[in-house]
Amino acid sequence: MTLRKIIRPVSFLILLLFSTTIFGQEKQRYSGPKEIAQYSGIADYQYFVSNNDTILDGTFKMQKSNLDALLSKADKTFLFKGEFQQNIASGLWEFDFGEFKSDSITEVVGFQYKLNVSGVQENANGILVLGKPHGKWVYTKNQIKNSEVLETLFESSIEFDNGIPQKNFQIKNTEGTLVGRFLRDGLAHDEWTFYSENQVGNTHSWYFNSGQLIKISTLNNGLLNEVNLIEVDSDSSNQTIINLDRRFIKILKFQNDNIHETVLKSSGIPSLLAENADYYKKLDTILSSLGEATFLPEFKVKVNYFPLDSIAATKLQNIKDSYLKSDSIASSFLADTQLNILKLSDEEANYYYSVVDSISKQYLYPIKGVLNLNDEKILEYVDRNYLIEHFLPNGFPSKEIKLGQLTGDKSSFINSNADAYSFSEKNLNGILQMTKYAEASLISIQKILSPKLAKEKRQQQFIALEEQMISQINNLNSVIDSVDATFPNNLIVGLEQIKAVANKNLSAYSNMQNLEEKLEFGQHLTKCFEHLEELEDEILLHPVKNQEIVEHYQDQVWNPFMANLMTEEIKKRITAAYRKVLEPYLLNEVSTNLNCTNAGTLLNLYKATHERMMTLRDEDTHKLERKLKREQDPKMVLELMNINPTVKKEQ
């Protein structure tokens, strides 16, 4: 019994001991270089390791400043200081960014060197709770001169409650100051006013009601301009809450044309909000790459919502597919150099070019605008009716596409199946029909233009091909006239044969009727002529190359009786096999068996033989020389010498 009594507490203690070793991580400290996002500097922080992951926990500090850089040019400094709890930024945080230059004049104060700096300094500080801003966050950007603040370039002061902006906020830069307030749930409320710094008295105000923008008023040089938005909103139940960011500004522009104008004029508010968002984004990037954080200020607003159901999504997809197809046809025609030249001389080509151009401008361009809105995820906040009005201010384009409205050209184009399309509905359906019509029109134009261009292209090919062939044949024919009287006769026979083969093939070409076959044969011939030209060069060089081989196979021998060096031919069996077997064989092949199909092979054989003769000299050819003795068959000699020209397949 006593034992049992003891076992329980003891086993409990042991369990406790183990559990601490299992769950209790030991904190470690790191001090050294570190890189986060685009910042690299010296860090000093506490952490522990769990499942091979480094979990930041405790104080964190990272900074960079370089005196050498400051003195020589300019220094970019930063300092991040704060605390983490289980990898989540919590506690008091401070961020400093500086870009300083120095005049290098130092002063000793006490036991420290003092150095004045000038430049720009940014500072942000506040409290983070579970990675979200909490309490008052102030972000300032100051112009510094001689270590004193010269001017405040930017300052924002916003109060948060667990990441949600609260109460009043103030953002100002050199242009002006924006003052506004939020409801407890972060929705914009009441009057948000921008006071211009440059033109005193000018204000822009946005009036919100629980997040909904109801009125914009601008006061410019004493002129008051007010736009009420509440009328536009037919049904307030069709609303949703989004963040006040660039997207919202864009959505505003798509409410109606008046607002569009007004928003453009009251640019102070959106630009200040955007600048503030940029600075917050900067801090978010740093915190997110360290641990978990959500630092973007979520200013919330209400907007009209026109959700895209699955049918609408399918339609949009269809519009996109059809648009991409049409656009690729249109832009390939518009950029086609051949068509651009042809349209200058060909009436029909010019007509279709103009049609494609008009379709591109009247149909494809507006459709692209709609698709862009969808890509930016704004479409669902825009009234479809207004969408059509915005992108097609003159309504849907006519199916009969008018050309040259500016040039006074009266001609037009209408696709044969135009009746199958109707685009009068001011919604996605109408746009889809319009896109389909553009696609059908372009396809039918393509059917006319493509063969026309292909024919034109083939004619151009014939011209280029024949020009090339004529120049080649001229070269081939002129070579034989250029050789002098000392040129060996057997080589002249070869040259004559090359010339004959070339001329025979050319006349075969000119007698061909079928254009397709003729083009193909012509292409084959230019390649053949290329080989023949090279073969001619090879034969012209043959005496030189022979001499090269003779000289290559000379060796210096010391004669003990004369006490001097004499040159001696070495590896005589190899040179003899070349002189007596290979060389006559090669020349004979050219002068008797040459044709267009083997010209390339023969050319390679010539080259390969010469190359092989040049390499054989320095190889161990003991066995080869023995085998070459009395070998008269050129094919065998080629094989023994290992001459295998890579045979190019003739087309």
Binding site: V557, A563, N564, M566, E568
Partner: protein
């Protein structure tokens, strides 16, 4: 006692030797004539092969075989075999222009005296070393050759003993190309040469000039490895027995020079240019 007996024996032998030697000298004593006597000139034919077989970068084997004929009463030049001559050496190529060799000679001397009843064939042994220097002079090349031979010979008599002599030979030769500006294959050349052969040794009393040879040959270089030449030689020298008597010969010479190289090409390659 025993020691003194031995000493007496040695002294006895010593005196005996001295006595016999002085007696022999007395016996072979020759009287010099009042004027030099030139003997009748013999006619000879020499067919000589000279081989220099390359065995390594610096070394070659010098192999010479000479067939020497001489007149009989009825046949001039080729009447009978005089000597068969085998000369071998190991040669060292110091540079293209300078080489040395060291080796031995076995010469078989045939008894050419028709009246002699002595042995018909006796061997002669030599150790020889040679130093040759070549110098280009315009298109020709001149050669200086110093050859030193240590020679053991014997007469044809049955009881003839070997006598030892040293020979001191200096040869000066020029090779002048005739149809070319240098000595290369397909070239004829003319080669005048003079060789003075001096000798010394106990057996040599007065007749120190063994031979003075004046030769001119006409040669043709067939290939870098084969040359042929032919020419005429007049020689004269003091008779060993009597310094006042001079032997004379007229010799026709036919020469073949060959220098094969059986080394594989890859072994030859670094050796071609020697020093340059």
């Amino acid at each position: 006692m025993r020691n003194s007996k031995q000493i007496v024996w040695v002294l006895f032998l010593l005196f005996g030797c001295i006595y016999t030697k002085s007696f022999a000298q007395e016996e072979e004593y020759e009287v010099l004539p009042k004027e030099s006597e030139y003997k009748h000139a013999k006619t000879k034919l020499w067919v000589n092969t000279y081989g220099k077989i390359r065995i390594s970068k610096r070394l070659y084997w010098d192999a010479q075989t000479h067939f020497r004929f001489e007149e009989t009463e009825s046949t001039p030049f080729v009447g009978q075999v005089g000597q068969l001559y085998n000369r071998h050496a190991l040669g060292y190529i110091y540079s293209k222009k300078v080489n040395f060799s060291l080796g031995g000679v076995l010469r078989l001397n045939f008894n050419t005296d028709p009246l002699s009843e002595d042995r018909n064939l006796v061997p002669e042994w030599r150790i020889w070393h040679q130093y040759q220097f070549a110098m280009p002079v315009y298109s020709a090349t001149v050669y200086h050759r110093i050859r030193i031979e240590h020679r053991w010979t014997q007469g044809f008599e049955d009881d003839s003993e070997y006598i030892f002599r040293n020979r001191w030979r200096y040869l000066f030769r020029a090779k002048i190309p005739l149809n070319n500006h240098k000595l290369v294959p397909k070239t004829f050349y003319v080669a005048p040469e003079t060789e003075l052969i001096m000798q010394s040794g106990k057996a040599v009393v007065g007749s120190v000039m063994e031979d003075l040879r004046l030769t001119t040959t006409l040669g043709y270089i067939l290939t870098p490895r084969l040359t042929v030449a032919a020419g005429g030689l007049y020689s004269m020298g003091q008779d060993l027995k009597n310094a006042g008597e001079f032997k004379q010969t007229f010799t026709l010479r036919v020469h073949m020079y060959y220098s094969p190289d059986f080394r594989r090409v890859k072994n030859k390659l670094p050796a071609i240019h020697l020093n340059d």
